[in-house]
Amino acid sequence: MASFYGVELKSRLLLGTSRYPSPAVLERAVKASGAEVVTVSLRRESGAGRAGQAFWSLIQSMGVRVLPNTAGCHSVKEAVTTAHMARELFDTPWIKLEVIGEADTLQPDVFGLVEAARILSEEGFEVFPYTTEDLVVAERLVEAGCRVLMPWGAPIGSARGLNNVYGLRSMRAHFPNIPLVVDAGLGVPSHAAAAMELGYDAVLLNTAVAEAGDPVEMARAFALGVEAGRAAYLARPMEPRDMAVPSTPVIGKAALGD
């Protein structure tokens, strides 16, 4: 089982709740995915609005654990204040920490990320930092108190898959005892399977399911991809080699040539 800050999970798929065609489709997709953790956010609500209350009732009815995010925050102060609001609202120390540094790629501002992670960890938060595959940044995040690391596969919502397999493999080798989650950029279940085959503990995705033609079926497909990749990792894949090796034995072959 995957373990994050002492919480054990059977499902290694964490699912976002945004961009679904309807609340009903979201609910069915979460169920089809088998996800036990869903990401949620905070947004302004007017005195007359009820969208947030309705959404919260839906999430509660699903019986899943929530991982609030600080999506859209571009500064340490914004991210820390958002985390405080999220902890009170969702009654959890978990926070998916995003400090965005670049508007086109939504690349993390890793300097702000480390600073915010340190502040929040010291305040008792259990931080899930959305980061890059940079090993030095990762070391700083662990020093700051993070016990989970979430490197990106590719830019958020891009569906490009694993842009830097070498970097992700290095990260796995460098942090054998820190739970690692590929977060963002996945587009199809084979991307999720590839992350799991590298030995990652879980994947976190949203848009690939929500914007699929059939989100519920895609959620099921991702669950299968994650399960296949994890099973393959545990089964220890063979090493690739340059030359062909016949799989059918040559010894005993009938001599039928001239």
């Binding site: 956010s41 302004r44 007017s46 005195g47 969208a51 609030p68 999220a86 958020i156």
Partner: protein
């Protein structure tokens, strides 16, 4: 006095954050608040006095990735 709640200007009676929220329709709602960029916990709202021109943020649970 005038306050700015999620960027919209409102006229409210001088008083606490809790009272302003109640008067603006947020009573009993699942929300989190900040005043002038600083988080104000639910328990602190009844003792948080507002001043003219304060900027209040009120957020609720929302979909997220």
């Amino acid at each position: 006095m005038r306050i700015f709640l999620n960027d919209d200007m409102h006229e409210v009676s001088p008083g606490t954050l809790a009272a302003a929220l109640e008067s603006l329709g947020y009573g009993g709602r699942k929300i989190a608040t900040a005043v002038n960029g600083r988080f104000v916990a639910a328990a602190a709202r009844p003792r948080t006095e507002l001043a003219d021109g304060d900027k209040i943020e009120v957020v609720a649970p929302m979909q997220g990735g």
